[in-house]
Symmetry: C2
Subunit: 774 residues, 2 copies
């Protein structure tokens, strides 16, 4: 079981020991209070559950979006002048500018590297094919192609599988989770970034059915997390700047800016980037934060644009706002008419259906991979196999294609392949494969009517659909945006051609490129199911606002139809990763659940002045692994249970233990330096595990005063609060722990992310997921 969960692109290999802390209290203890549980905890009989879609892993921790307003923090804030706050604000802008700039640079680097290497590869193969077309023995060309592709993909896969498995895939599900408030291990580390960037270059050059756009979002997020902290733990380099931002609240804000900058660089869509960040992540809307996110996005697309213009020897001509450029949709023929809208909606439905089918296939493939392809060397071999098959299929299709097109004087194809066509003509099928996918999309959108025949498009759609589906989930760094667009553009263009041929008034449906665009939107929407941000991204990428309405209608149709069958691809993978992901609202029919039923209890509480031994034992208890502890105070001379007076986190206790902040020591060593917020910041974010802290037997008898360090005003709710109300509070404030108290302010339970994420609406009404230690 453990194996199964671990390998779904969320693998947390080698990290469990340190980050062992868990918020959810003892599983057994909380059993009685969960009326919905139909089965016992998954721990008892994991074999009965075929796969882990119905599980919720306890391994994932939450981010602390809520500030810990303890005395230290308040003292610091109160010491700060108005000017100091101004300076902080300015640094935030500077950081966002930096994030945008660096994200743009990385996008630029990826773009140039891919173009150069892919150009080299295509040239090599083209020359080889041309040589062997006349001499016979094209099988040698095939072998060369297969070998080159497999070689590239092998390296791309090796670094991912062996060095950093979290860098696999597009990274969008991981960033979604991070922005949702889940601490996905190692997702924003420098090593991940390097593997991601190098990996995506290899996979795109290796000719896989992938895009380089998704990974940009992840890259931007990693950059943001790194830059905003002013240090790199991996490189052991601390610049001693931006220390104020070393906490989850600030980091998460910057990461959302980074993700937006990534989208912006990938698609030249700064507004789309902002909306992506907000749609996927932000718990609540903050004006200043959004402006900064927008600023980062703008800088990012501008940087990319500027450096690419230099690379293309047209400095200052800012015409490459993103990695993918849909080209300008301007011609009169591209204007749509009212009676075309039903057609567009029908195409949206097709896209939704196809997308659901894609997700369905990929889902079973992922289950298969979880079971049988979880060793790194197997993963590398699978990736190489896919690369080889992709090349072979492409070759066969080009070989048997008879779609010859005249090569005009102003042709846009960079590597036109004559093959068996007459002189002055080129093989149309070859251009779709013999190109980076980005360029193929653009050709499908803009090439004049008649560039492709229906058979070419149909065959291409079919093969590319299965190839892309097979490719997503491989241990390579790659995105699914571009393959989706390509599939959609192909069948969309096919629709356009068929429409034009069936109606007599051909001029009405003049441009199949318009249908290619709609098809691309439909297919992408059917697979990823984003609506608002995707509409804006598509509109910005086309650079034409008038397409807003049809694209929105198409995306909404695709989402409705797709959701009927299957969830979106990213959500599916998040589910398979058993991540405690919180949606926007509590399930609709959950009003009859109250905090009393949802919460975990009993709760391990600490006294305000607690024995060190007790604290160490509590933290060392591996069967509970709590992360937050309500602090209580005993009303003197009273038999009643203690009252809540604060909340303290495992990470804080660890720092306190490490610095031996004991009451007795403070008395004896008067000169001892008072613990400062800086000490907590220095330890952030990789707090040492409790096992690494040595506490002597004498010290165990000391006392620790938590008053100064605990959060004295944790948010609380009464026991009768309904689940939607608890959910709203939790989600709106980005909480990690919510204390449930009774009428006398005594602790009766604790609500954490997992307690809320357990409930979801299934086919038979409200369902409950199983919690598992995997």
């Amino acid at each position: 079981m453990a194996n199964i969960t671990k390998k779904v692109s969320w693998s947390s290999r080698g990290d469990e020991s340190g980050a062992a802390g868990e918020e959810t209290p003892l599983l057994n203890g909380s059993e009685q209070s969960r009326p919905l549980r139909q089965q016992d905890s998954a721990r008892g009989r994991p074999k009965e559950i075929p796969h882990n879609e119905k599980l919720l892993s306890l391994k994932f921790e939450s981010l602390d979006y809520d500030n810990i307003e303890n005395q230290l923090f308040l003292e610091e804030e109160r010491r700060m002048s108005f000017m100091a706050f101004r300076c902080l604000e300015i640094s935030r802008w500077v950081i966002c500018g930096l994030i945008g700039f660096l994200t743009g640079l990385i996008a630029c680097f990826i773009d140039i590297a891919v173009e150069q290497l892919a150009g080299l590869k295509y040239k090599l193969i083209k020359e080889n094919i041309v040589k062997f077309t006349e001499a016979g023995g094209l099988s040698i060309s095939l072998l060369l192609w297969v070998a080159l592709n497999s070689f590239c993909v092998m390296w791309g896969s090796i670094i991912v599988a062996f060095i950093e498995p979290i860098a696999a895939g597009s990274g969008i599900p991981q960033i979604k989770c991070f922005l949702n408030g889940v601490k996905v291990p190692r997702v924003v580390r420098l090593k991940t970034l390097v593997v991601k960037v190098v990996g995506v270059i290899f996979s795109v050059v290796g000719g896989l059915a992938v895009g380089k756009e998704g990974p940009m979002i992840h890259s931007g997020a990693v950059l943001a997390a790194g830059v905003s902290q002013g240090r790199s733990t991996s490189l052991k380099k601390d610049f001693k700047i931006f220390e104020y931002f070393r906490r989850d609240t600030e980091k998460r804000d910057f990461v959302s800016a980074g993700a937006a900058a990534g989208v912006s660089a990938a698609f030249g869509a700064p507004v789309g980037g902002v909306l992506f960040s907000l749609e996927e992540g932000a718990s609540f809307w903050n004006q200043m934060l959004t402006w900064r996110i927008f600023f980062a996005s703008m800088i990012s697309t501008f940087t990319l644009n500027f450096f690419l213009s230099i690379y293309h020897n047209k400095p200052g001509e800012l015409s490459n706002p993103g990695l993918i450029n849909f080209g300008r949709f301007e011609s009169e023929a591209m204007e749509y008419n009212l009676y075309e809208i039903p057609l567009f909606i029908a195409m949206g439905a097709i896209g939704g259906g196809l997308g659901a089918f894609f997700n369905f296939l990929n889902y079973w493939l992922t289950i298969f991979r979880i079971r049988y392809v979880h060793r790194p060397c197997l993963q590398v071999m699978e990736a190489m196999l896919v690369a080889a098959v992709t090349a072979t299929v492409a070759f066969i299709m080009i070989y048997f294609s008879t779609d010859c097109q005249p090569l005009g004087p102003d042709h846009t194809e960079e590597y036109p392949l004559q093959l068996f066509c007459a002189d002055g003509e080129y093989n149309s099928m070859a251009t779709t494969f013999f190109n980076t996918p980005e360029r193929s999309v653009r050709s499908l959108f803009h090439n004049p009517t008649g560039t492709y025949n229906s058979l070419t498009l149909g065959l291409f759609t079919l093969t590319y659909f299965f190839l892309a589906c097979w490719t997503y989930g491989l241990a390579v760094s790659a995105g699914v945006f571009i393959p989706s667009l390509l599939i959609g553009a192909a069948w969309g263009r096919l629709c356009g051609i068929l429409l034009a041929s069936t109606t007599s008034t051909a001029s009405m449906w003049a441009d199949p490129g318009k249908y290619a665009l709609i098809g691309a939107a439909a297919q992408l929407g059917g697979i990823v199911r984003m609506t608002l941000s995707l509409t804006v991204i598509m509109v910005e990428a086309t650079g034409n606002v008038t397409y807003g309405l049809p694209i929105m209608l198409v995306l909404m149709t695709a989402k409705i139809v797709g959701d009927y069958f299957q969830e979106g691809l990213y959500d599916l993978h998040i589910k398979l990763g058993s991540v405690p992901f919180l949606h926007w609202e509590a399930p609709a029919t959950s009003h009859w659940l109250t905090a009393r039923e949802v919460m975990s209890s009993p709760v391990t509480c600490l006294n305000r002045i607690e024995k060190v031994g007790t604290i160490v034992d509590t933290l060392s208890n591996t069967s509970t692994n709590h992360n937050g502890f309500p602090v209580v105070v005993q009303v003197s001379g009273d038999d009643e249970p203690a009252k809540l007076c604060g909340l303290i986190l495992r990470s804080q206790l660890i720092v306190l233990l490490k610095h031996k902040v004991f009451v007795e020591l403070a008395r004896s060593r008067l000169t001892q330096r008072k613990l400062q917020l800086k000490d907590f910041r220095d330890a952030y974010p990789r707090f040492p595990p409790i096992q690494s802290i040595h506490v002597s037997q004498d010290e165990r008898e000391c006392m620790m005063d938590l008053t100064e360090f605990m959060n004295p005003t944790p948010y609380t709710v009464p026991q009768d609060t309904s689940l939607p109300r608890v959910f709203k509070l939790f989600r709106a404030l980005g909480l990690r722990h919510l204390v449930v108290v009774d009428d006398d302010n005594r602790v009766v339970g604790l609500v954490t992310r997992k307690d809320l994420a357990r409930y979801h609406v299934g086919k038979h009404g409200l369902e409950e997921l199983h919690l598992a230690q995997t």
Copy 2:
């Protein structure tokens, strides 16, 4: 004093009696707990305060964005099946579609009406001028012009001043406040909508320096509030649909969709509309809500586009996405270069400075108006005066202008005026005045180089600046967007011309239209200070994404420079209205304030089973006028103060009293119908005042059981919670009352909107506003 506050476009004439309820408890009682107060309550000595910028009116109530989860509500929710929730969701979409459609229709109506009437007017005057140019006696033309303008403006002003004063101005500050959670009286009523729409037509036709875009936002919001309730209280028509949505939470969500639809129709900017709604209003981001808002925006711009295309006899050709259309910026010459960016930023700074000056003048003008021009007939006379002056100034400038331009064969001017120009030429100054402002903006953006000379532009900027400043704040329904754009475009074009003439390489600065665009953005940004949404609106209106970065930089510069001198125009008017407006975050240096200092105390509490007489007396107490009452329960046989067990609103108590839900009556009349949620919804939103409910002396002795109706789980905070933490909770959840409790869960105070809005950062650090009953 009362007079002063009342008349600042927020006038609540004739409404105080009913909506008298106020959340803030007794002013005197809470005095001790407010250490910051430098002066006594404003009530004592209002004369010392020169104007009401430093006041916070107690007259404004809050909206209840938090659901009242009492037993009735929970029972209803629990009875509802999953399908019922689905249906509700579908109705929400249908309503948003309707909102978009109707907003589009209204925009279309305004556009056509203005075009027809203005066309008639221009034709009349032009013919008159042509007649008198040769015959002499142009003063008769002037008189005609003045008379026509004053006549139109008179009617526009009369309906505003005498029928519905809240319809004055653009309505954007009012909608900002509504979305912020302030219940501005009568702002979303049908009468307001009618006056707004008719008024804006009169003011634009009357030739004032105003636009018809701002009022669209207000109109959309009113429509949304009306449609979503499925009834009109004014028309006494209840369609018995959408009853579920009859509460503040849902209504406010729909109003944000309506505002977005308004922006979308005004500027053809659906994404900008969504961002406007979010930037100005939404407390927290909800994905589904945002999609619906986007849907409404899209439908709105599409409807307008579609009907305008029919009106222009080109059905199906969707080229009019908004009321104002910047035209297409496509030519090569419009592309900007890197070295132009510093110039753009400089222009942003100019715009910020000019905007601040504009706001400064308008601020003093508004103070003047509050003091001396508060009678409706005076207001009408002022509006007529402005109309006459505008016409006269325009006439004089045209008369003395010597800027003659050749009239090309494909000229775009609809009413070219020859005046004293040679045959085949027209007076260039006349075109800027002899046009709807929207058309003038477009001409400034797109007319080829040389269409205007510098003197024309300079003079035009100067006069229009002062005219627009004088006009904003008149008792007419009109917006400030277009005049700002026009002023900015004029001086921006002037900058472009000057740049081209000073540099030798004229081709570098080829197109002054580009500078007109940047100037327009700078001026508008300097006046209204919106950043994110305005950038997107401008980008969508130009239809060219590449202008995103310069526009953003310009708007940000304008904001920074402008904020240094003076607040934005809308914020200024909100401040002058003494509205308790909550900003995004608590003031930076407020960490040393806690809930104990901020809250109002003592609080009037009710017992769970309370005597009817006590309730009636509490509600009738005009000196307190509370709106929310914590419900407490006495622990039996205990001398301690009672513990908090719920919260009940004035409006709920009123309904209970009206239906005589008394314990004794329930016992005697067993068949009595149980009070349902429907009864509360029927009374919403105009709950009767307590004075209108007759309670006999016998009934006063009865008891009322509040258990079923109170919200049993109000949000609470401990006394030591810091102000930023209280603020965050309050703002994120859109609360109206936040109960402050001690360690034993006893009520010690209540935090309301006004308690939080009182603190703001002034020039000398944290300042506190005065609360006033005005």
